[in-house]
């Protein structure tokens, strides 16, 4: 494939979005994603198939697996243009950006042929079964058990905080396959269909009143013997490899989303007539400065490329999640007493959701406290306690 010029590519994405995110899909603009996952789930599943028909799923996958093998710079450009156009939060991102690269690297050819097409075509949706009630920050404390019996894997246990489980067909799970093993040893990585009698999904109602996460109960759930990635006992290695594929390509897209929220906040300040207030103006300026800093930080990460994880990558999750939390607080302070009421118009409702949901940002994917431990130990070489 010949070198694609980034500017042309960006224009191509923008043009495609302008032609497709219209009509009945128009309502999806800027909707979905963490904090808004319950918005139009059925329509967003359909949208995934529209995306697939445009060739926008699997941009970075090898061509041998039906991908486009685009360089990182163009994948980043895609996410940025997608978000700029108000592209909805993706329903298929767990399959596309986490499971698929794992299968491509560590799966068998049969697994690749079976699972990759459904992901690429926007037909099969995946969720991630890692956390358990007793295994949060201490993920290796997993207690779910699995065993091979009569040519099938059996699964017993419970997962929690599973995003999008109610909108997914499959879940990937780490469970303990060696009885009596502890910590990272004796775990296996299984691919499990959700539509079966042994699986029960219970939504968790969160502080926003919505339910984006679930508990997933496995009571002698089954999956085929070949639905294991890696060998029995390699589960931790596979699970960590999977997390390593999240390379932050959608980071600038996420920032575009933040930028949209900040603009909603600026508009809300004007509408509320508090844009004269010097203290609020300064805080809003501070939020803008913080977002520009996140952008500069992301550009440092991309500039470093493959040459390892730099300090800027280490601090990034802590930085963005805390920035986002402050943005939510600021939005509520802009609204004043009006923020006491559940807004029924879109921009204000959105900002209220940011205020509440961003409390989760500093908890999932490594809490603030775990992030600070990692920064101190890996970034500053301080001893483990």
């Amino acid at each position: 494939m010949s070198e694609i010029d980034e500017k042309t590519f960006r224009a191509e994405v923008a043009d495609w979005m302008a032609r497709h995110l219209v009509g009945r899909f128009e309502v999806l603009r800027h909707r979905g994603g963490p904090g808004d996952e319950t918005a139009h789930p059925e329509l967003r599943r359909e949208w995934e198939q529209v995306m697939a028909s445009g060739g926008w799923i699997g941009l970075g996958w090898p061509r041998a697996h039906g991908g486009r093998e685009l360089p990182v710079s163009l994948q980043v450009a895609f996410h940025e243009e997608y978000a700029r156009a108000g592209g909805p939060g993706r329903m298929g991102h767990i399959g596309e950006t986490l499971l698929a690269p794992t299968l491509i690297d560590l799966g068998t050819p049969a697994q690749q042929q079976r699972f990759l097409p459904g992901i690429r075509e926007g037909r099969t949706f995946w969720c991630q079964g890692y956390s358990e009630p007793g295994a949060g920050s201490d993920l290796a404390a997993i207690r779910s058990r699995c065993w091979l019996e009569n040519g099938e894997w059996h699964l017993q246990g419970q997962k929690v905080w599973t995003s999008l489980a109610h909108d997914s067909e499959w879940i990937f799970v780490i469970a303990r396959s060696t009885p009596g093993s502890v910590g990272r040893e004796g775990l296996s990585f299984l691919l499990v269909p959700l539509a079966q009698p042994g699986v029960e999904i219970r939504p968790i109602r969160q502080m926003t009143g919505e339910a984006e996460f679930n508990e997933v109960f496995f009571d002698d759930a089954r999956t085929a013997a070949d639905c294991i990635v890696g060998a029995p006992g390699d589960g931790w290695k596979v699970a960590m490899a999977l997390l390593g594929y999240e390379r932050g390509l959608s980071t600038l897209g996420q920032q575009m989303h933040f930028s949209h929220e900040l603009q909603l906040l600026v508009d809300a300040a004007r509408a509320a007539g508090v844009d004269h207030d010097p203290a609020l103006r300064r805080r809003i300026a501070e939020a803008w400065i913080g977002l520009r800093t996140l952008r500069a930080n992301a550009l440092r990460i991309f500039a470093r490329g493959e040459s390892g994880v730099g300090p800027e990558a280490l601090v990034y999750k802590y930085a963005w999640s805390n920035w986002h939390r402050s943005l939510g607080e600021l939005a509520m302070d802009v609204m004043g007493t009006a923020g006491d009421l559940q807004a029924d118009n879109d921009p204000l409702r959105r900002l209220q959701q940011v205020f509440f949901f961003s409390r989760a940002d500093t908890i999932y994917a490594g809490t603030n406290e775990i992030q600070l431990n990692l920064i101190a130990e890996r970034g500053l070489g301080m001893p483990r306690g």
Binding site: R282, A285, I289, R292, A296, R304, V315, A376
Partner: protein, 375 residues
């Protein structure tokens, strides 16, 4: 310019770090200062952003930032900042080509030490009414009057570049030798001994016509752009200082034992150090972003990107210096240990070249339109 530093910049950084580590002078008496300055001049640093046509190296702001970062790390007491970060951008932005060619070669060689007088705190948001010095045309020459209460490096500077309020309105840029008749200067006792200051009083100082350096009408816009460059390079200095505070603190807490283990192994201590690193890396990213947007002195300056670097670096440095004192425990409060020096330098840097709040206000004005317009 990209967000990563080039090999040349890395080489410059290594040279600067090696030289300054052997010549740290922040706590010593004055005696060594001139020797250090001559060493710095010998390495060509004062020439860094001076164009080749004016006897300089003609490098960009990124290279100047590398030097200032290293000098901030070592808290170097020298007129490097007043030259590279302050005087040179002002001349390059506001002085005529003839004036630049006459003045910059000696400054680039470090033969003359210069400073700037342009309103209290050298704020880029100053207007003509805020300037302390007045200038009136007197036949063939100029007469300058007024008091500049705090002039950076004012005790040692050979000359000051003065932005004065013109009698007919607007601003003018003047070259003022320190030994001019009618100039009296009084050294001031600054808390930050590495940033000496003096009060300059100008009483009917007569200057020749050539002492006016600007092409009329250029200073009003040029001054704020020049001082924005100063703010950007100050951010580089502060990034160096904040990084040093973290290094010192991590080293000290690893060494210091309490309850039978290194203090650095306590989570409360680790988290505070990690917070320092989060702030430092934010400032570093902001600085890289601003340098990418403002590679050189020509053309429009991306003021909002400078604001990002200015606010983040000032905040990071103050935070890291204060945490360094706390995490050093009792010795952090002593004269002997370095955190107090950084704490004073950080405090100084929050007040000059537009306070972080003034920069935030500038950003808010850009987001909302100026506040006055609504009132």
């Amino acid at each position: 310019m990209s967000a990563v530093i080039t090999e040349e910049q890395q080489a410059l950084r290594d040279t600067a770090a090696a030289y300054l580590a052997g010549h740290a002078n922040a706590r010593d008496g004055r005696d060594g200062d001139m020797a250090l300055w001559q060493g710095i001049a010998g390495l060509g640093w004062p020439a860094v952003i001076v164009p080749e046509a004016c006897g300089g190296l003609g490098l960009g702001l990124a290279e100047a930032a590398v030097l200032l970062e290293e000098s901030g790390r070592q808290l170097t007491r020298s007129p490097l900042f007043s030259g590279v970060a302050l005087s040179h951008p002002l001349l390059l932005r506001c002085a005529t080509e003839v004036a630049c060619q006459r003045l910059l070669p000696a400054l680039a060689e470090g033969r003359l030490i210069s400073t700037v007088i342009a309103g209290p705190g050298l704020s880029p948001f100053v207007d003509a009414a805020g300037l302390e010095i007045r200038a009136r045309c007197d036949g063939a020459g100029w007469v300058l009057d007024g008091t500049a209460a705090q002039v950076l490096d004012g005790d040692t500077a050979d000359l000051a570049f003065v932005v004065a309020r013109l009698e007919e309105g607007g601003m003018g840029l003047f070259e003022l030798p320190a030994d001019s008749q009618g100039v009296s200067r009084r050294p001031l006792p600054a808390w930050d001994l590495s940033r000496p200051q003096a009060c300059w009083t100008l009483d009917g100082v007569r200057l020749a016509a050539e002492a006016r350096l600007d092409a009329p009408g250029t200073v009003d816009a040029g001054l704020s752009a020049a001082l924005a460059v100063t703010a950007l390079l100050l951010a580089a200095e502060q990034v160096g200082g904040a990084a040093r505070c973290i290094e010192l603190t991590v080293a000290y807490t690893r060494e210091r034992q309490q309850f039978g283990r290194p203090v650095a192994s306590f989570q409360a201590v680790k988290h505070r150090c990690a917070e320092m690193m989060v702030k430092l890396e934010g400032a570093r990213s902001a600085l890289a972003g601003a340098l990418a947007a403002c590679p050189g002195l020509e053309g429009a300056l991306a003021l909002e990107e400078v604001a990002v670097a200015r606010v983040q670096a000032a905040g990071a440095y103050r935070f890291c210096a204060a945490e360094a004192i706390q995490l050093h425990g009792g010795v952090g409060f002593t004269w002997e240990y370095d955190p107090q020096l950084h704490f004073k330098r950080a405090q100084w840097g929050g007040q000059w070249f537009g306070t972080p709040d003034a920069w935030r206000d500038a950003v808010a004005d850009a987001l909302f339109g100026r506040r006055e317009e609504h009132e």
